[in-house]
Subunit: 84 residues, 2 copies
């Protein structure tokens, strides 16, 4: 796992996206299909092998039938990002 993926925030994000997917009863393959990407893409961002940039995040939220803003808010709430 790339070192940049070990931050608590990144891990929270991963957990959040996994929760969301399961809550919708979707498999990685289904999400991947919606995103027009291979299943390994989903496996990787969920597993912390890959980061999601902002635009990708929006797309993933869409595939998960979720509101990106709300997901982001939830993430921030769960683990406030401190630059200090």
């Amino acid at each position: 796992m790339p070192k940049s993926l070990r931050s608590p925030q990144q891990q929270q994000l991963q957990s959040l996206l996994i929760e969301l997917r399961k809550a919708k009863g979707l498999t990685q393959t289904e999400v991947a299909t919606r995103l027009r990407r291979p299943q390994s893409f989903v496996a990787k961002y969920e597993g912390g092998e890959r980061r999601l940039d902002v635009v990708e995040f929006i797309e993933v939220a869409q595939a998960l039938e979720a509101d990106a803003c709300l997901v982001l808010g939830e993430l921030i709430q769960r683990s406030p990002v401190t630059t200090d």
Copy 2:
């Protein structure tokens, strides 16, 4: 510029972050200092040489004294992301 940075959404994001920074009267160097990164980091994400992942985006929003959720919402509003 990496090819993944040419999407309209990415460019909208860049513009948005530049606007926000200028609206606050901040220089790249000041933002960079807040982020504890070199000025080139800011120059790159503003110029499209580098993408911001979700966690970085939250940090940048903070450095810009902006609400990440609102910024994300604005981005989505300006250029709806369609996975289709």
